[in-house]
Amino acid sequence: MTEAKRYKAGLLPSLNPLGFNVERWSYALHRATGVILVGYLMAHIFETLQLSGGSGAWSNTMNALHSLGPLEMVGLWIVAGSALYHGANGIRLILNEMFGKLMGKPILPVYPYSPTSLGRDQRVAVWTITLVVLALWVWAGMYLLAGLGVV
């Protein structure tokens, strides 16, 4: 896209993930998984509250969740993947932002403004996290989806 077209397009191109670099992808995924986890946290607090109503209330809650069928375990698998990615990527972000690790040294902004934060260490960290999380997510899927006959 030319400069003129980019200005006219405003913020819309920023919603197109195809133009993202790996750091931007991890930023978007971190936020998306964070929102999923907050939604689950709120539901989980209310789910756990049913324990205070005794075994009958807990059984009713479990039965209601089981009535969702495969959606229950698929939902838990998505939550597990979100927790794994958010946690692992969060550790990278803490190393970046709290301790200044894995990032290049700051330089004066020079066109075309290549970010020094996207050096070799950062790329290795992002891809290592992606591979480890994918492996653990597959393992979690084998555990959670086993009863569905999926794996």
Binding site: G34, I45, F46, L49, L51, W58, S59, I94, M98, Y143
Partner: protein
């Protein structure tokens, strides 16, 4: 006289405190959430169904009440502060921020109260 950034009503220093809370709760969450997940995983030696029984769930809350209390506190602060951080990027005017902060604080208090009630009654 020139003011510093911390003198400004929308001071970045306030956001720094909020981000510091996010980082500190994140570090604690890595440990307590890993512990919570391990209790429910095959590594605990139980099947998934066995970890979801009334007895197993109440036992976990009773034996590890302090850990689950810490998990509740850090997860609620970290999660809702994260939602606030996302919303702040969209809601720039100061009046929206005040309303947003108020909503987030009320939600934090509400979920902490519900979670604490569960821990006290069950534990």
């Amino acid at each position: 006289m020139r003011g510093t950034m911390s003198d400004h009503p929308n001071s970045l220093m306030k956001e720094s405190w909020s981000m510091l809370a996010t980082y500190v709760t994140a570090i604690i969450l890595v440990f307590v959430l890993t512990f919570h997940l391990l209790l429910e995983s095959p590594l605990s030696g139980k099947s998934l169904d066995a970890t979801l029984t009334f007895g197993a769930a109440t036992n976990n809350l009773t034996y590890y009440q302090v850990v689950f209390g810490l998990l509740l506190l850090t997860a609620v602060i970290h999660g809702l502060n994260g939602i606030r951080a996302i919303a702040v990027e969209w809601l720039h005017p100061k009046r929206f921020r005040l309303v947003l902060n108020l909503i987030i604080v009320i939600l934090m208090a509400f979920f902490l109260a519900v979670g604490t009630y569960t821990l006290v009654v069950v534990g």
